[in-house]
Symmetry: C2
Subunit: 289 residues, 2 copies
């Protein structure tokens, strides 16, 4: 991680490169399909982009001619786009840099600005303004990321639309419990550590309990679940032996004690053996007993 604070300006791409904030000098997306995207630059290159400060609808890379016109479809095979898919599926944070070329009120007036960490909360494809297929990535600021600086633009006569709230406590409730920040759209994707990613790779994202593998466009999704919680009282280690590859539902059931693992890797539900945990030759499981 570079040592930069949200809001920090960089007058040129080269300075942002040297600080490690965004390493490529040209590309808007820094990352690989395997590791995910580590940073993006939002700088007005794609007219379908939308920037609401703490939420960005970021258009993927590709399909443009040298003059910046969209002339063909985008693809998830593009390594930048595939990197953003991985960031979403793995729940990995992405550094956001805004450039002066951006057309929103959140673009800096000059140069570039590091605006902190965002996550990719969803992605999808649509036909863009120019009539070609584009991929878009919804990026949301983490709770700790400050709202970026703004400058009023002439064409912005209103503030961005907010969902309607009524503030009352009627039945049924209709208010937004935490208005303002987008924290109400709870991030559902569970962040992977290096340890979890290894376990998920061994099992190819297939649940070791129920065998489900969720297939999203561009990649599959699973969760790394600790058998024993880290830290006290169980002091489970953050090692592959203490992590399982599970689907979201089996993960919750393990955490809540609805599913318990027996010493022989039996899956115990309602006090009865309901099967055995699928294993992998490289994945030695440590029940800590």
């Amino acid at each position: 991680m570079p040592n930069a604070q949200p809001g920090q300006p960089f007058s040129t791409r080269r300075l942002a490169h040297e600080a490690g904030v965004h390493r490529p000098l040209q590309a808007g997306i820094c990352g690989t399909k395997k590791a995910g995207a580590e940073s993006i630059v939002v700088s007005g290159g794609y007219k379908d982009d939308e920037d609401y400060g703490d939420v960005i609808v970021y258009t993927g890379h590709g399909g443009q001619d040298g003059a910046g016109n969209q002339v063909s479809n985008q693809s998830l095979d593009d390594s930048g786009n595939a990197a953003l898919v991985t960031s979403c599926l793995e729940g990995l944070p992405v550094r956001v840099i805004r450039g002066w070329q951006g057309e929103s009120a959140f673009a800096p007036l000059e140069g570039y600005r590091y605006d902190g960490l965002y996550r990719v909360t969803s992605y999808g494809s649509k036909f863009g303004i120019d009539g070609f297929l584009i991929w878009q990535f919804r990026m949301e600021a983490y709770d700790g990321t400050p709202m970026p600086e703004t400058h009023q633009q002439e064409e912005l006569s209103e503030s961005p639309e907010e969902p309607p709230t009524d503030g009352g406590e009627k039945q049924p409730p209709s208010g937004n419990e935490e208005p303002g920040r987008v924290t109400t759209t709870v991030q559902r994707i569970v962040r992977s550590s290096a340890v979890k990613r290894q376990v998920k790779q061994w099992h190819d994202n297939r649940c070791q309990i129920c065998e489900l593998r969720i297939e999203g466009p561009g990649g599959s999704y699973s969760e790394g679940a600790h058998i024993q919680a880290l830290g006290s009282p169980h002091n489970g280690p953050d090692t592959t032996g203490n992590v399982l590859c599970l689907c979201p539902t089996c993960h919750v059931m393990l955490d809540l004690g609805v599913i318990v693992l027996g010493d022989d890797l039996a899956i115990i539900r309602d006090g009865a053996v309901a099967g055995a945990l699928r294993t992998h030759p490289k994945h030695a499981i440590d029940l800590g007993v």
Copy 2:
């Protein structure tokens, strides 16, 4: 929410009561089974408690005689314990107050101290030191909650144990990506807003897509999922019409676009209709189209 900062001292329970930090004058748990626990006091009343600062293993209420000896089993029927179960199942935050009677290094030397927001990440029962069944709740500090003040005690010769790390980038990885804070145990339980709780109640925590209901001890678990994300670009409202009651896996599949809803509430997977969303008379669903 009371207007108190983590670390703020209260010399008496009455002052904490008046500030709204912990409303009961005697009880250690403030809350109800329906609403969850809003605050707890950690003050040494139960010898099975463990306090590691950002992680607390908090023993439930009940089973003690007037002298504070454990003389019978605890139950989840106790309203305080049931409240903590709800806080876990709903992912709701709990205020933690530490009292001078606590025996850990994190107890204040005098009076009481508000220590910020924690979440109940899991719970379970065991036979305690005195040989009776107790319920325990694992409480973890939110990322934004500062580590509580500590004072060195004579009986503490070492700092609390940390999981082993090696810091290397070997294959397979064995290091802790974020050592120190307990943020590596990712919170799996999705926090409910008032709107989500209403929808989950209508459906009795049963998934509207696959009919699964996860039955934990003391309560069932489901997740409120927004059909359209809040805020831009979809501007989905935070209303019951925009929320579904789903199991964790169907929630992820909806977010990733693996499952799509048709105009007639058809469940579409892989481009084909795979069923219809179960509805409820009071739950008018708004697809925003």
